[in-house]
């Protein structure tokens, strides 16, 4: 035991014995606090901004037995709960079996779903099971705004699930909203919707990850909307969950409740459906791949020994940001948001509320190519159609190349 006090693996920074909790977290924990586990890349929806570019199942996805072995290991490591997502986790045939297995092994489950399988019967099962939280994804307080990015019918599916949970007596379901340019003006409506279903509202940040990279320019909140969001969170922060998502907004002045720290590889990580371990749920890319729990001797080993995670647990350089008076508040923002918009990791966040992000975005940058894509190869009826209706119609039909009339295309009014 005593040798542990003096022997540090080569290259690993020596943890200070004192300091704030946040400083301690920067050096990493023995096991994650917030672990996201995506069970499948398969999904019934094709949301335009999907973080994991989900759609099709990957043939290498972990089997039921392999998933149970992961749960056993999480129990040994005392990871007290996991956030399960996907894809749509509930369309895995063994989803309910794995859920029961986890809660029976002291691993609580919070799962994110679009609600497609939350039938009245499943809702009753969930209401009768301890240590389970359900998070229904909804990205608009109206069908118009939600279905624009999540696809036709997805609003009705989510509300039906919420109704089923309420009718079954399930307490405190979560309504999980990704904040976008289109829905920032609906925050009060979301809160009213949550209240109507006895649910808790959870707001998170839109990341330019996965298919989100393709639509980020159009969907991410405008600078004045960031302020609107910040003010709303300051007023309602007590009753609303954020997953510590908005620490970049701390540079407006006061810190929001939560850690205000990038937890990637330190207190947070992601296990993907094939057992790959990434630094955070918003960073599914080879650059943030720490290892694979099947190939590299288990999750604990990857968490504790991966060189990538060791690196992330070293004090980070803030680059140009360290000169900013708000650096201590925002710590340079979100690593994934910078990476997927082609910005340097030691520079400002693309949504820096002091305006440095816009300057950086205007400069030279190359958006990194995706390392994986499980999107459906051909569109289905569930695909969102992000089209704006034309507000101005052409004055007359175009002239066909085959029009034989000598007066084809002639318009006397333009003479």
């Amino acid at each position: 035991m005593s040798t542990n006090l003096i022997e540090h693996p080569i290259g690993r920074p020596v943890r200070p014995q004192t300091g704030t909790l946040v400083q301690q977290f920067e050096y990493g924990l023995d096991a994650p606090i917030c672990l996201t586990w995506e069970l499948t890349y398969a999904c019934n929806l094709e949301c335009a901004h999907c973080l994991s570019s989900s759609g099709r199942r990957d043939p290498r996805e972990l089997s039921t037995e392999q998933c149970k072995a992961v749960i056993d290991e999480l129990q040994r490591m005392q990871v007290f709960y996991v956030n399960i997502g996907g894809g749509e986790p509930t369309i895995r045939p063994d989803f309910w079996e794995l859920l029961e297995y986890a809660v029976d092994h002291q691993v609580g489950v919070k799962f994110s779903t679009n609600g497609v399988r939350i039938t009245p019967e499943r809702a009753r099962f969930l209401a009768a099971t301890d240590y389970v939280d359900v998070q229904i994804s909804l990205d608009g307080a109206t069908a118009e705004v939600n279905d624009y990015v999540r696809g036709p019918g997805s609003y009705d599916t989510a509300l039906r699930a919420l109704q089923n949970l309420k009718d079954a007596g399930f307490k405190e379901a979560k309504i999980s909203v990704v904040c976008t340019r289109q829905n920032i003006s609906q925050l009060d409506e979301f809160k009213a919707l949550a209240d109507r279903y006895g649910a808790t509202l959870r707001l998170t940040r839109l990341r330019p990850s996965g298919r989100g990279a393709d639509v980020w320019d159009e969907l991410h909140p405008l600078p004045e909307q960031q302020r609107e969001l910040y003010d709303w969170l300051m007023a309602h922060g007590e009753d609303v969950l954020t997953g510590d998502s908005f620490f970049h907004l701390a540079a407006f002045g006061e810190s929001l409740p939560g850690l205000n720290l990038c937890g990637a590889g330190r207190v947070v990580c992601l296990i993907d459906p094939i057992g790959d371990v990434y630094a955070c749920p918003f960073a599914i890319h080879d650059n943030f791949l720490a290892g694979n729990l099947l190939a590299d001797g288990g999750f604990g080993r990857v968490w504790q020994t991966s060189p990538l995670f060791q690196d992330l647990r070293s004090p980070q350089t803030g680059g140009a940001c360290t000169k900013c008076q708000f650096f201590d508040a925002c710590r340079g923002g979100c690593m994934a948001a910078k990476f997927f918009t082609g910005l340097p990791l030691d520079g400002p966040d693309p949504e820096c509320v002091q305006g440095y992000g816009e300057q950086a975005l205007a400069g030279d940058r190359v958006i990194p190519a995706a390392s994986q894509d499980h999107s459906k190869k051909t569109p289905t009826r569930n695909q969102p159609v992000m089209l704006q209706l034309l507000t101005r119609r052409p004055e007359r039909p175009p002239v066909s190349a085959c029009a034989e009339s000598p007066l084809a295309g002639f318009d006397p009014t333009t003479l």
């Binding site: 943890r15 909790l21 301690q24 050096y27 924990l29 023995d30 096991a31 606090i33 005392q78 007290f80 709960y81 002291q106 609580g108 301890d130 240590y131 939280d133």
Partner: protein, 93 residues
């Protein structure tokens, strides 16, 4: 002095402690609260509550000097607010 020091206390049955370099994580499986015990001494105190006749004895066993007992009592009150620890009742109390 806080009356708690003379009372028998215990860690709540639904709480698990996970050792960490700075102390421990305490997780309550019932109310799902997560709390950080930021000093190894506090972890030792919390772990020792159930086997000590009262809180003051648990503090002494963990090597906490008397001058810090009031501060530790306040920290323990904080833990009690989320049911991480609770007063011990029953025949041995």
């Amino acid at each position: 002095m806080d009356a708690l020091l003379g009372e028998p206390w215990m860690i709540s049955p639904s709480v698990a402690l996970r050792p960490e370099p700075f102390g421990a994580l305490a997780y309550h499986f019932g109310n799902r609260k997560l709390t950080f015990l930021k000093r190894p001494e506090l972890v030792a105190v919390v772990q020792g509550l159930a086997s000590a006749p009262d809180v003051r004895t648990a503090l002494e066993h963990a090597g906490v000097p008397a001058s810090q007992h009031a501060a530790y009592a306040a920290a323990l009150r904080g833990l009690a607010a989320t049911d991480m620890i609770r007063p011990r009742k029953g025949p041995d109390a």
